[in-house]
């Protein structure tokens, strides 16, 4: 009998393997235990073990070859797609906990360059939030965002520990178009502090600007520790 609070068996198997992989129990390319062996060790059914391994494969942690076996892949990356996707949903879909720390949430006066990008007049008010998103308690993204009060007048009234800016904005101001840049940059002292990494550590930086049919809505600078985040995607005809 399993006590109610206990993690699901498939999650336990997955966690165990993840842990061992992180510790280097198997070098990349090395054969890992077969499903049958894990069934024996954990006293669970093969479907349960299979789900754990399938999810590890989907996360890029293991490789599986039918008729051959399961092998350790290069160590841990998390995945995303090049879409405007709510980070909360993304983390939840991995079965992980998300929580957000709000560091800044206020009205500011838009300096000229920013005002121009948001199609506001210089000196007009603009909303500014700085929020750090955590996955299972580990900082994953520092979201530095400016929002046009014209498109989302009630933005600052949102409880960002419960609703992400992306989620809220997608609801109140549907996106018509967006552009983005993706680059690698060294963490600033401030970013390093917020993300619990070292200054100068490589970060994946996405700058995204969205607009509706008439005007810009928001500009966000999303900084991710390079070691904890990767963008994944695919295309087919």
């Amino acid at each position: 009998m399993v006590s109610p609070q206990a993690a699901a068996p498939y999650a336990q198997v997955k966690h165990f393997l993840k842990e061992q992989l992180a510790r280097g129990r198997w070098s990349p390319g090395e054969r890992m235990p077969s499903e049958a062996q894990l069934v024996g060790r954990f006293r669970v059914s093969r479907m349960t073990v299979n789900r754990a391994l399938r999810e590890l494969r989907d996360e890029g942690l293991v490789e599986r070859v039918q008729g051959v076996g399961t092998f350790a892949a290069q160590p841990g990356r998390v995945a995303s797609t090049l879409t405007i996707r709510d980070l909360h949903a993304e983390i939840a879909s991995r079965g992980h906990r998300h929580h957000a720390e709000v560091h800044v949430a206020r009205r500011e006066v838009a300096p000229p360059a920013l005002a121009a990008k948001l199609a506001l007049e210089a000196g007009a008010p603009v909303f500014h939030t700085v929020i750090v998103h955590h996955e299972n308690g580990v900082p994953l993204q520092c979201e530095d965002r400016y929002v046009s009060p014209v498109c989302a007048p009630d933005y600052l009234g949102v409880d960002f520990t419960r609703t992400t800016p992306t989620h809220y904005l997608l609801e109140v101001a549907p996106i018509w178009q967006a552009n983005y840049t993706i680059e690698a940059a060294a963490a600033s002292a401030e970013e390093a502090r917020l993300l619990a990494i070292e200054r100068g550590d490589p970060c994946l930086v996405v700058v995204r600007r969205t607009a509706n049919r008439e005007r810009p809505i928001t500009i966000a600078r999303l900084v991710h520790p390079g070691s904890r985040y990767a963008i994944e995607g695919a295309f087919a005809p």
Copy 2:
């Protein structure tokens, strides 16, 4: 009885729902059929339907709430504009000079993990090139590439100072599908040397794997100095 070629039942259910979602059968937030209803309609077991829905949730296409139901998610899903561009053409289009330095171009024996990724047998030969691309004399990209001899048997005969691997491969082995990851990483000593940057400097790393209809063609790891390269894109409805 299911004919051997048929897609797996879970994939059929998933495909059906994806199709309907794409057609706007359910608006965002609208309730979709329950697992029980889909079991009845497709004559499959609930585990099968559950897997289809779970994967749709993981892809961000639906939201599921225990005790309540399954709902169509906000769209948010836009085709990636990340294209496979020939770097030579990209540099030329900026009116700049491109030249390539070939550091490695040889046949090697594929270690197991690589062989699996390229659908080769372990120990089979594989082509390996390491080429540094310069824009106006400045190193812009270090291209570390493995190529399946099955798809491009004459690969090593190409003069890579005159033709880029991407250009050549697009000609001899048209791409049917591709996937990629984008991440930030610190330059290794070797990469730093090739790119004329400091070890540890942030780099934008794209790993791209392409395949034709039958089999993988090539895996490339493209390392760019963070200070010199960014990916840009836009999407609109």
